[in-house]
Symmetry: none
Subunit: 156 residues, 2 copies
DNA sequence: CATTCTCTGACTATCTTTGACCTATTGAGT
DNA sequence: ACTCAATAGGTCAAAGATAGTCAGAGAATG
């Protein structure tokens, strides 16, 4: 079996038993599997990306760590549908607003949060000299990023 | 756990129980934690800066001390200061994160909102081929836009 | 074979901790 | 008042401890 698959499986077992998040030391893990530390980054990038339903955060320096949070779960199906299927690589402002408004009606986000989301993807907030096509690409990424964050808290 | 984190936590507990300010002896604290005195300065610089919502003052010589004050400010006042003075035309990701974290500590935004804000200004959310200078200009606008939205509901 | 996926290593970036040296304040002795 | 020793805290650079990035070699796949 491939090294990457072993590491992936190892991490997923930790996530199953313990809960929805694990914290590990990159160097320790690499030593355990007898591989280069950067291999761990490869596994994170290819198997624990947001598109796979995971969020990661890390710190360097003494006492550094890597934390992996599993986001995909029952209650957030609607959100994961939006992230994985509904939203593509580009999204116009009007469409963003429609989605946000739907989420509010469905009580997935509060009115305050909806207002926050709407304000940040607005034309006013993105008023810099960048082509519209790129702005819409950013809107798609911004929306996905926010929805993932919301999904990460709705773990039920 | 990191030494710096322990010291940070220790000081924050003092600030919670007693009031909005504490006075400490640098050398005593260093001895208590068994570290170099300058370690204390490091903790103050990285975790109790004005951006983190704290002010510090100190005196040298006999009877010297370090005083740490947690800044309390009305929500809308704080937000308007950020929008009008603190945030200019450009803001790096790290600086955004510092401000967001401070707003959370001061209970001006909820933890959920802070997470939402952090996710949308992150490098991941803005990963399109646009120069960093422009991304930072956008971050400034995005932050202002979000803060104004929050201010619009915080009538205090 | 060509392509795509894995894996490594050299280089880089970031965070923490310490120690040597510097500056300010106080108080005793003159 | 003046001086100096004792007592604080401040600064900064260097070392230590982690993690990230990226190009290219190697392996698997179709």
């Amino acid at each position: 079996m491939r090294l990457s698959d072993s590491i992936e499986q190892f991490i997923k077992e930790l996530l199953n038993e313990e809960s929805t998040e694990v914290e590990l030391k990159r160097n320790e893990l690499a030593e355990y599997f007898g591989c280069a530390p950067s291999q761990i980054n490869y596994v994170l990038a290819t198997r624990f990306s947001p598109d796979h339903g995971y969020l990661t955060e890390s710190r360097r320096g003494g006492g550094g760590y890597i934390r992996i949070v599993r986001v995909v779960q029952a209650g957030s199906q609607r959100l994961m549908y939006l992230v994985n299927d509904r939203i593509g690589d580009s999204l116009e402002e009007e469409e963003c607003l429609r989605l946000i408004s739907q989420l509010k009606e469905q009580r997935i986000v509060t009115a305050d949060e909806a207002a926050l989301m709407a304000s940040v993807i607005s034309g006013r907030a993105l008023a810099v000299p960048v082509p519209d096509a790129l702005k819409n690409a950013m809107r798609a990424k911004m929306m996905k990023s926010m929805l993932m964050t919301i999904a990460a808290r709705n773990r039920d």
